[in-house]
Symmetry: D2
Subunit: 416 residues, 4 copies
């Protein structure tokens, strides 16, 4: 059987072709030369299943879609305090080229507007890094995210440099407030080269899925960012990624997203998947016309609205088996707070007043720290109530299962 | 065994007592009389499990926390087009009392600032509704959300009316742009009475959980709002609920939230749970000092950051059992897109080239529309590939299981 | 001979008829009923010579042109400190209906925008004055300015009251910041009645000439305002009278001005004259299309640009007559700083080293305080140098001519 | 006798020493090294009488006081249309370093804020001028204004260049909107060199007096700017010269002014005089503390408020002498509209019904174009009424005295 998901995607991009409006970016000649009918889409689950259709091998410059990833690199490298001191995280209520810096702090409002992105790039590699060193670090991380070696489109970079007055203005303002210390030329060159990295929709979907998966590239299994960094990056994308239409986008589409002027559009659903589309014609806000249409359709048809997540908590308790010998609470899936709560409820409901209770983690994928603490506390209490408590954990999902008194739970016989 | 969750909550609110700053609202005398040491917290899962601690039976006026619920009532009653024509959904980048209306449309920026909330209330019950009728409708809905009959604190309402110059100004501006057609006095009175509804943290947690649960009150099981309305309300809370600090709040705490001047704070995690705290002293932004501290701690300790959701997709396939007679794909939990994708992957991997495939939904809680379509399409393709396809669905989770040619899948013998 | 000035004015308004654009205000029906072809103009010198042409007897509502005069009444009655604490004097950079109040002080930006004008009106007659009392005081002063009893157009006042949502919003905001303490209804009613005072272009030209003449109505000779008040009112008209086009207006026309929505336009040239036009069709900024054209033409043709004032200082020394007996320095005109400087130069140049010097003020109209001090100081120094100093001042223009040692200058024989 | 004016000025600056607050500009080291007790003041009448006291020979960098003069040079050289297309003339309501460009036009708000001044300087000498050429042209004009050869402080220019990030940002923004076409480095260098021109308070007072005198340097007699240019420059100084405090300044001081960060302050009274002070300590708005105090005192004591001009019209008619032979109307001073009006009134009042009327211009300094037209029209009408009209004009103040029918008025016998 062939998976229908690619067919779904094909149907959706075919349907999106009916949107004929929009203009290809023409502020630099090299962008305007692109075939406006190019169209591709890709989807990658947090488990690493990648689907793509249309012009999914066509490489285009990443442009502003680089912003969330450069922000993630900066957060990873310098820590949130240092980054926070240089770039805020509030929506600016303005367009992408808003230049205003905070009156008190001299900081850009957020890392998704251009002036904020220039500031972010300068944080990478330290104060005295060369342009090549900064861009090299970024390219390495972007490549790790995509799972393949990426490269820079030198024609795009050159053309952008030849039309960089506004960026130069922003870099000088950042120098003036002390956010940038390198020369304005270096700052702008680094930023422009970052934006000229060539990607396909397949790359972007996997990069997005890495954020959605808490920082672990779901295909290579490499941890690229910490979970905390991914949380912060996706939160800022949600509030500021679509510039001054972020509120409406999150209401109607509900997928944290970032668009690029070359026609790319990327979205993430935390814990679930990454999405990407490519189609050059842009709407007046600078977002890909067909890309927006595809995201809207996916959100509606596929239930991908962040705020429309289905209740999942009860899934954690796979089964409660009560025999004469023991009550077995079999858990599964990832164990977050809701999973832990479901387990505790099952434990409270334990029918047998004082018999053996087996907690079975054989089917559990990963255990959140909170889940681990809740399971351990539940086991401690069960023992405190007089139960004999056993833990079945063949994969070792529950590290350091100390029951609070230095002892560890017994392991049941390998019957099941 | 006693559940440790209440003990967790107790520990957290005890810890929050160390935050001694903040000022009780004193713009009306009746609010300033409150005991500043009152402190309560509650948590309600989307499954309807309610935990509460501290002063959890103390009733206080809901104030601005009424805004998301009134917005939901208006959306439910009038539809998103009518509401959208009167109130936007972008963060205003300003404080709660920002009065600016959109230059072109005359609309308030969003329903979370006061001027937007006044406009929203006027949408309820239709143009010619009396104050009593509008407020009656709201009180009914709020009561349905809380699962008990709520009432209005007449002293608070009276006191607010006596200090309502700014609200009157906003109502007159809304009249001027045609958003409000009733008298300014009626508009302000309706809004003030809405804000004076008395609630406890238990009420608020359940009300929040109803939004998180897609509109079904998780304890009474009553559908109060549609899933689409809950999505929109939570999205607007995320982008504008914490006024001009919404970006930082979503980054650091990651829980769509709304605070009230009486000391309440409410949060929702879509698909997961509702939260509420009560503690009167407010920070300069008007948010409960201890409430904020509790939310921060819950987000950190309990992994409740919206953008830190754990991958859950693979949970959907409970088991794939291959026997000589058949391959059984047992599903479980709610089936959303990721669940559907996991099922389809299992179907593609089906070892038996042409035998019987049983899709077992016995453990499935609910099936998203997208999940239903993906399961049906998978079954159609399996049959197209030559399989005999059977559906085990004792609870009828998959309505209208048409295989595309007018036939329905067979039901396996009730062996399992 | 008939003065050609009226013929000039007639020619200018005839020429202005070629401007056929603009729309008559129609936000209230009573204004929209006016004949759009009505056209009048008037000019009154600071000496009280009044010229008028066209529909110069047609009465229309004064509207916003009342603002500078109400501001003057408030300044006169309450003093600049009290007024300044309630209303600022900076251009707002916004349109007439800008509602923003200063964040720190809660004050409107200036008295020429509507919200500032409402605040100003409430200063008149004291905190507890009734609407009738406030409006009565204003009407008395306006009548003194016009030199005849003015009245209120009750139909206009009623119609404005029926469309006063925006004004009510402003009044409530002013109550909220404590600038207004009366009820919003009273504040708006007072302001609306002030705007409904009926005037002709002849009235307005004389009212303007009173400001230009330092507060003395040039026809009746009554002092209505102090010189300091007139200075302040004209300065605020210059910077904020034409709302957000004030800079361009002062650059191209150069006459401090104020327009009204009924079609009136008033201008002042300090020390020189007052101007007024009436023609109902308005441009998009709310200024009379033909009125603006007439002002532009007058400024260009008649050299009326405030910044294009001709040097006048040397005029002060009418004649220096040197005889054997004495050197007579005959002064004339008003004596300001430049006049005083010219006198002192003549005194320094006094040919006779030690003879008699006669200072002749027979032709002097008025002596500024600064002029008086400069003349006295010059006479003291002449005497200190050994001159016999005499003062001819038949009209008593130089009060208290003490020479610094308790003596007064001699008076020459009445020969000349 | 010694003129008391210098003594007045000395007294005023001595009094100003009591103001000990303010900080010397320290954003570049070379400015911070100045002696903060330096204090000078100068006053130059439109007739060219120059008074100065204190450190009146100390040279300091002109800084922002160069802005109105560079604007005048640009207007003179390129015409108002070209300049207007690049720089607006509205107050920005913001501080001196406001960077916002008009959204539609890309223009700076006005030429008094830094970004506007950079744009203005680039208009001088044409698009392809070198830095040296542009600065050379400016230096020539500034020298003509001062009446002596000025030079540039190279240390100041170098130091400013080393701290020019903000200026570079502004230049790049102007390049981005097309207002500036030269390189940003050239634009900033030209502007910085313009600001580093060395001047004394005597220079500034004469430069200001040239504006007040309609463009004729009152000491050298050289016409440097046209009257129209002076009008525009002084109007823009009035509305925007003191940045966001311009309204209050014009209300309380009433002298169009411009301050510089080195401690200079310049003011003009059209038709009357120019003023300048120098004292390095600045208030938080960047204006010289003692300079402001001196201006306030001069305005109050010396009646120099622009809006407090004394009525002067009647001064024009020196005498009306009625003899049997003729009625002689002797005029004097400059003849503007008000002077013309006074003459016409005298003509209308002519007692003799049909005798000879002599118009005597022997004492007239200059005749405004409007005055000329009014006198001629009066003479034509007198003749039309049957009078014999004669003109006494020994200095030829009334060029082309055509009476409307090709004839010229007779000249009376040189009796008087």
């Amino acid at each position: 059987m062939k998976s229908p998901i690619s067919d779904y995607l094909t149907e959706i991009i075919t349907d999106a072709r009916s949107a004929t409006g929009g203009e290809v970016a023409d502020y630099i000649p090299v962008l305007s030369e692109v075939d406006r009918e190019l169209l591709g889409a890709a989807l990658c689950t947090a488990s690493g299943d990648l689907y793509s259709v249309g012009d999914d091998e066509h490489a285009f410059s990443i442009q502003s879609i680089s912003k969330p990833f450069a922000y993630a690199v900066a957060l990873e490298e310098r820590g949130p305090e240092v980054v926070d001191a240089r770039v805020g995280m509030e929506p600016s209520g303005e367009a992408f080229n808003d230049i205003s810096l905070d009156e008190e702090t001299g900081r850009p409002d957020n890392p998704m507007i251009n002036v904020g992105a220039i500031a972010v790039t300068q944080l990478i590699g330290g104060r005295s890094a060369s342009v090549d060193s900064r861009v090299g670090l970024l390219l390495d991380r972007f490549s790790a995210l995509a799972g393949r070696q990426l490269s820079i489109d030198e024609r795009v970079a050159e053309s952008e440099l030849a039309h960089s007055d506004y960026s130069m203005a922003m870099a000088y303002m950042l120098r003036d407030t002390g956010v940038v210390t390198d020369t304005a030329e270096h700052a702008v060159t680094s930023y422009i080269r970052q934006c000229a990295v060539l990607v396909t929709v397949r790359d972007l979907a996997v990069m997005a899925a890495t954020l959605a998966n808490g920082g672990i590239q779901p295909i290579t299994g490499q941890r690229v960012f910490s979970q905390a960094v991914c949380r912060q990056v996706q939160a800022v994308m949600a509030s500021a990624g679509m510039y001054n239409a972020a509120g409406r986008w999150m209401t109607t589409v509900g997928i944290p997203a970032k668009s690029g002027v070359a026609g790319g559009l990327l979205g993430t659903l935390p814990g679930r998947l990454g999405l990407a589309t490519f189609s050059p014609p842009l709407d007046p806000q600078g977002n890909s016309v067909r890309g927006v249409k595809i995201f809207q359709r996916l959100s509606e048809d596929m239930g991908m609205h962040l705020m429309g997540a289905e209740p999942t908590g009860d899934t954690a308790v796979r089964e409660v088996e009560v025999t004469d010998a023991a009550t077995t609470i079999a858990l599964q899936g990832p164990l977050d707070f809701n999973g832990g709560e479901a387990f505790l409820r099952a434990a409270v409901d334990c029918a047998v007043p004082s018999g053996t209770v087996v907690v079975d983690l054989a089917r559990v994928g990963r255990v959140h720290d909170v889940g681990r603490r809740m399971i351990l506390e539940g086991m401690r209490r069960l023992r405190g109530d007089g139960h004999r408590v056993m833990l079945r954990d063949p994969e070792g999902r529950l590290p350091g299962p100390d029951l609070g008194d230095g002892t560890r739970p017994e392991t049941p016989d390998p019957v099941a």
